[in-house]
């Protein structure tokens, strides 16, 4: 596979956790500038996949590459290329939004991040909150700061684990807009774990379905909707694929 086209390449990836295969010979390729929606029920192996791709976990066997760099052997290079927003993350609530972003920018190697922080806040339409303590933020505001810290070092790939979990409809809408804007204006490839099919339909360009650690389906959203044209909703398509 071509390194430049496939920004993420996963080959025969297996991860065994407590004698159970969390991932079973997973093969997956994601092209540049895609918004990839990774679907699957709880325990299907979505978070394990994202943990391996973000260098948090080492696979039992197989390999995964980001922009041609191996996530185990070249983990430091991979870390420079990725941004990550874990599920249910709570930032430093005693610090202000600016102090939080400054911290993540500096440990990512940005020496004078002030201008960058204000640019990012403007980009995600979140100006004027920099001096507020994170502890005073709503869940939706928290997630926007989460996106800001994940993209502050301008990564090529952004990993989002259940980004809309626990958000109200307005928060979901805002986050959806930011994800699309990041993809269109900053040409960022986005890998999104989710179980909200409505989100996938509105945001993603490609979907993959994981079941018991195996990839059972992958196609573009357009093709998927065309292929299952008898179904009324993506939800029905999903159940059809799972069966």
């Amino acid at each position: 596979m071509n390194k430049t086209q496939n920004i993420i390449s996963i080959s025969n990836l297996t991860h065994i956790y407590k004698n159970k295969k969390a991932l079973d010979d997973l093969n997956l390729e994601i092209s540049k500038n895609e918004i990839f929606g990774f679907l699957g029920h709880n325990g299907a192996g979505k978070t394990t996949t994202i943990s391996i791709l973000t260098t948090l976990l080492k696979p039992t066997s197989g390999n995964a590459k980001i922009c041609g760099f191996d996530v185990v052997k070249d983990s430091m290079e991979v870390k420079k290329l990725i941004g990550y927003l874990p599920e249910n993350v709570k930032f430093y609530d005693n610090l202000t939004a600016y102090e939080n972003l400054e911290y993540f920018a500096k440990i990512s190697g940005i020496k004078n991040p002030k201008e960058k922080i204000f640019d990012i806040l403007k980009f995600i339409d979140f100006e004027g909150i920099e001096n507020k303590k994170i502890g005073e933020f709503s869940k939706g505001m928290h997630q926007r700061i989460g996106i800001a810290q994940a993209i502050i070092h301008e990564p090529q790939v952004l990993f989002l684990d259940e980004p809309t979990s626990g958000l109200d409809p307005m928060g979901i809408k805002k986050l959806r807009e930011i994800i699309i804007k990041l993809n269109k204006e900053k040409q960022m490839t986005i890998f999104m774990n989710t179980h909200l099919l409505s989100e996938v339909a509105k945001v993603c360009t490609t979907i993959g379905v994981l079941n018991s650690g195996k990839l059972i389906y992958k196609n573009s959203l357009k093709e998927t909707l065309k292929r299952f044209n008898n179904e009324n909703s993506l939800e029905e398509i999903y159940f059809n694929i799972e069966q």
């Binding site: 260098t55 948090l56 874990p86 993350v89 430093y92 005693n94 500096k106």
Partner: protein, 329 residues
């Protein structure tokens, strides 16, 4: 260039740890509690000290006024550093809690909030993250201790109306350094347990169990079993055996008992800290007027224990921090 980048990243983490803790209410409450207790205790004992000095000076003036011969009178010895006894006990007890709270906040809170997981996906090595965390928190403990010892120096000088000599300043400075080592050990133990245990509340409970055993129980048992502590003012003094050599001769008959008691005390690094600092500050009478070199030589085993406990706990914490999988899967 690479070295400077590494230093920059470590300092960034250290600075965040420092500021984050300073803005934490729990930490501020414990610091305030420690400082209030220390300063109140020092102020009260400094007034007492001042009264003793004034009383001596008044008596001396009266004698001189009545033209009595005072050349052959031995002047009483005042030891202002003995006023720090309460402070050292507060550092032993409340300071240790403060360090435990810091260790817990530094690791457990980040584990629970998933920020540790997030930091591990950043282009910074785990060892640099650990060094940054350790440095930031040790600097914070240094600031608190420094503020406390400097405040004590000022209070004794101003209220106690005594001149602290250069040697006494050096002894206070050494006590400050060893206090940081003592507190850093508790920080590392608390951080270590927060890293090992999946349940963060269990790690905190175990930290406090260790605190109770090493800070309260063992030293208390050791003190209770000490023959000289059986009656107020000391058993030997009460029965008129004041010479140290006589006391040692009698104690020879109880050598097994004394060995067992001492071994029990030796197992608590809090007791090693106390023995060392009490000697340095002359709280233990036999060390009054002794040089720093003499005290350091005499107490080298306590220093060794104290430093070893700090090195061992921080090394273990760094190993677990860098090697253990710290994410949920």
């Amino acid at each position: 260039m690479k070295f400077m980048n590494n230093v920059y990243q470590v300092i960034t983490v250290a600075k965040k740890e420092y500021i984050d803790a300073l803005k934490n209410r729990v930490f501020i409450i414990f610091v305030s509690f420690l400082l209030i207790l220390t300063f109140v205790s020092i102020i009260v004992s400094s007034f007492d000290f001042q009264a003793k000095v004034i009383s001596y000076q008044t008596a001396l003036a009266e004698l001189q006024a009545s033209h009595q011969i005072i050349q052959n009178l031995t002047a009483p010895e005042f030891y202002p550093l003995q006023l720090l006894r309460g402070t050292i006990e507060y550092i032993e007890i409340i300071g240790a809690i403060l360090a435990i709270v810091l260790g817990y906040l530094s690791i457990a809170k980040e584990k629970g909030n998933n920020t540790l997981q997030l930091l591990f996906t950043r282009p910074i090595s785990k060892i640099k993250l650990f060094f940054g965390k350790f440095l930031g928190n040790v600097l914070l403990l240094t600031s608190v201790s420094g503020f406390m010892f400097f405040g004590i120096y000022l209070i004794i000088s101003l209220i106690g109306k005594t001149v602290i000599t250069n040697i006494e300043i050096e002894k206070i400075f050494l006590s400050f350094i060893f206090s940081i080592i003592y507190l850093s050990t508790f920080f590392s133990i608390s951080a270590l347990l927060a890293l090992i245990f999946k349940s963060l509340s269990n790690s905190l409970i175990l930290s406090f169990v260790i605190w109770i055993v090493f800070v309260l129980v063992i030293p208390q048992i050791g003190d209770t079993l000490d023959p000289d502590n059986q009656v107020p003012g000391g058993l030997f003094n009460k029965i008129g055996i004041t010479q140290k050599s006589d006391q040692l001769t009698i104690l020879k008959d109880f050598s097994s008992y004394e060995k067992a008691r001492d071994s029990l005390e030796q197992s608590s690094f809090t007791k090693h800290y106390e023995r060392l600092i009490f000697a340095l500050l002359g709280i233990k009478d036999m060390y009054n007027g002794k040089t720093i070199n003499f005290i350091i030589n005499d107490k080298n085993s306590d220093i060794l224990w104290l430093v070893s406990a700090m090195i061992l706990s921080s090394t273990l914490t760094s190993i677990i921090f860098t090697k253990k999988k710290l994410i949920n899967k």
